[in-house]
Symmetry: C2
């Protein structure tokens, strides 16, 4: 959609305010004219650049068609790095900042990859495959329905309202994907198993893996794999999105499911269920709980968010954005993640107690203790701290650029 045209004039050079808040030196018509001429030159160059970007996209379309026809992968890190390298060199030679050009080209390359990937989205790795989505009316169910449909699979939906048809719906399927809330996933797995063809792959996409995987192995004799997509139903493109795979039984027979996600642009990370659940306790439960508790405190104190934002460095804006983002989403999703297991609830209780240990330090104004503790943590973080500094500085620049 096109943005609304701003109400200002195109080149309002007259009456511009100077930095002192006073009127600028009186601007002669000659200066006006000179500025306007230069801006016209810039506009002409910009028109050419955008036109060349359209030409480029046209050629990329041909590349995508060729790759699709010959089954070549879209993401080609070496070609991308070479392309960036060559443009950096050119930039340096003609007086442009190579980092600036790299930034521009990372955006162009990503766009090109997304276009190619969305063309690949139409590609199925298992011609004529039939997929059953169990719980297909939830957010992720509908999302996968669209993905599999677009790729040419026959997709069937089994939800609360059509369980009597389960037998018929399971007839001849290649894959059943269980996509239901955590607290009913084991029950649904038990209910669907009797109808599963022996050769069909059974998988679930629950955000915990140990119990559902155990259950699937117990009730289905055929190929089993646990999946945990680390993206939500609002993800517009699977490009570089991560999906964790915890193998269950007969990996070879499950491979095509993973291949399909890779074709869509996703990255598959292999793990076992215990490690997965352990790490997700930190990555999801702890992180979300900490964010929840922070937002909770801001509300209790009735902090003026808008005024704090006016006073904020980009980093605070980004951090407050992370908090705000959580509360713009579905509360039941987060309560499921946080209350998923006793192990998780204990982790969170430990976190509360760890925070509580700092009370005395604050009461005693013990700056030394704080600095000692800070140093120890900094050492433990090691080189990650520096890397985080670089990455977040890059993002802060992006934030300044945009907002």
């Amino acid at each position: 959609m096109e943005k609304k045209k701003p109400e200002s004039e195109i080149h309002p050079v007259e009456g511009e305010k100077g930095f002192s808040g006073k009127k600028d030196d009186i601007q002669s018509p000659a200066v006006d004219q000179a500025l306007s001429d230069l801006r016209q030159k810039i506009d002409a160059i910009d028109a050419q650049i955008v036109s060349l970007l359209a030409d480029r996209q046209h050629v990329v379309g041909h590349v995508a068609a060729l790759k699709k026809l010959h089954n070549l992968q879209v993401y080609h890190p070496a070609r991308e790095e070479d392309l960036v390298f060559i443009r950096r060199q050119q930039a340096a030679k003609i007086g442009l900042n190579p980092d600036f050009i790299e930034e521009i080209y990372r955006t162009i390359i990503r766009r090109s990859r997304v276009l190619q990937t969305s063309s690949m989205a139409l590609k199925s790795v298992r011609a004529g495959g039939i997929v059953l989505l169990v719980g297909g009316k939830g957010g992720m169910g509908r999302y996968f329905q669209e993905c599999f449909c677009r790729a040419g699979y026959q997709v069937r939906i089994l939800d609360k309202d059509n369980w009597p048809d389960a037998g018929q719906l399971c007839d001849g399927i290649d894959l059943a994907v269980v996509s239901v809330p955590i607290d009913v996933s084991c029950e649904v797995i038990r209910n669907i198993a009797p109808f599963m063809p022996v050769k069909a792959v059974l998988c679930d996409i629950t955000s915990i893996k140990e119990k559902p995987l155990e259950e699937m192995l117990k009730v289905h004799v055929g190929p089993v794999i646990g999946l945990h997509p680390l993206f939500g139903p609002t993800t517009s493109c699977l490009d570089k999105q991560i999906i964790v795979a915890t193998p269950g039984r007969n990996d070879d027979a499950c491979q095509w499911v993973l291949d399909q996600f890779v074709t869509w642009g996703a990255v598959v990370v292999q793990s076992d269920a215990v490690e997965h659940d352990d790490i997700m306790g930190i990555v999801q439960a702890l992180r979300h709980f900490a964010t929840f508790a922070f937002g909770q405190f801001l509300r209790r104190r009735r902090i003026s968010l808008s005024r704090t934002l006016e006073f904020s460095s980009p980093i605070y804006r980004l951090e407050l954005g992370m908090v705000g983002r959580l509360f713009a989403q579905d509360s039941s999703l987060y309560s499921e993640i946080i209350f998923a297991s006793e192990q998780r609830r204990n982790l969170l209780k430990d976190y509360i107690m760890s925070l509580h240990d700092n009370l005395e330090m604050l009461e005693n104004e013990n700056k030394c203790l704080f600095e000692e503790e800070f140093q120890k943590i900094a050492e433990w973080f090691g080189p990650f701290g520096e890397q985080a500094m670089r990455e977040s500085t890059f993002l802060i620049d992006k934030l300044i650029e945009r907002f």
Copy 2:
């Protein structure tokens, strides 16, 4: 600096691996040739684009020179928005995604602004001005020394080692900037005041404002203003960086100091000292303390950061990056911020107790209570949540693009 050339061949089409991890369909030389031809076309277009960006930068150089000569401001929001609007329109007409083109142009515009601003950095708003930096050997002191020197000011440094020369150093100055740690700022203000010329501006850049401002007003009879730059000494360009100004006495006589920061590209936010300290308690002390406590817990549990990162959605990567970033910086800076006042320490103790209140909810597996609380907070956040969602989604895309 140029990046090291990747070791791969430029276009390694042979032996490419397909998404299944198996070899691609055997690639005919004809396909190789077709792909290579298309890539050459892309490279030719890219060479033209980069060359046009160099032409553009050249014209922007002329605009900057003109603006500097005639005292026009660099940041011109209306012109920037119009430029983006026109390119979006062109994009839509010729089959390009307007958001993609806007993204490219936000990067180009920022670069253009940074180039113009750095040319403005050479401009002084008070010809022949003399600036004394008190505590000039600290990080911010050295940073301001460079800024004022480049703009053509005569800059003098007063630090621990040359206090006996204070009288001489203060002779004829237009401005004294007190840039010392929080806990000695009032003392230093008292010590410098007797040497200050009556007409000279006295300011400090302490991150709390109430006490230093009170002290400056007490000991100096001339113009007084409190400043708090919300950026650190590693900021490469003041473009859009925020500096809070808390007026003290004789605002007109202080105005040139603010004008100088605006000339350098910064944004001045006005506040009174009490409000400033209140808000900074949240923006700095609370946020940093929460981040500190999170890192502290990760270390206590000896979490494998690298493995959690492999499993991470971009949002977790960003959040962990915020934590890592803190610990890559100076511990004394953070202890000063956190222990700055009793009011702050009490705020942090309240935060700990607020978190502690959730223990029972976790122990009782009270998901309902969690969801109720979540809803209340979400309502309180209001439209900010949606905005944060948009902004952080934009950044996540940037993160995927880059890393």
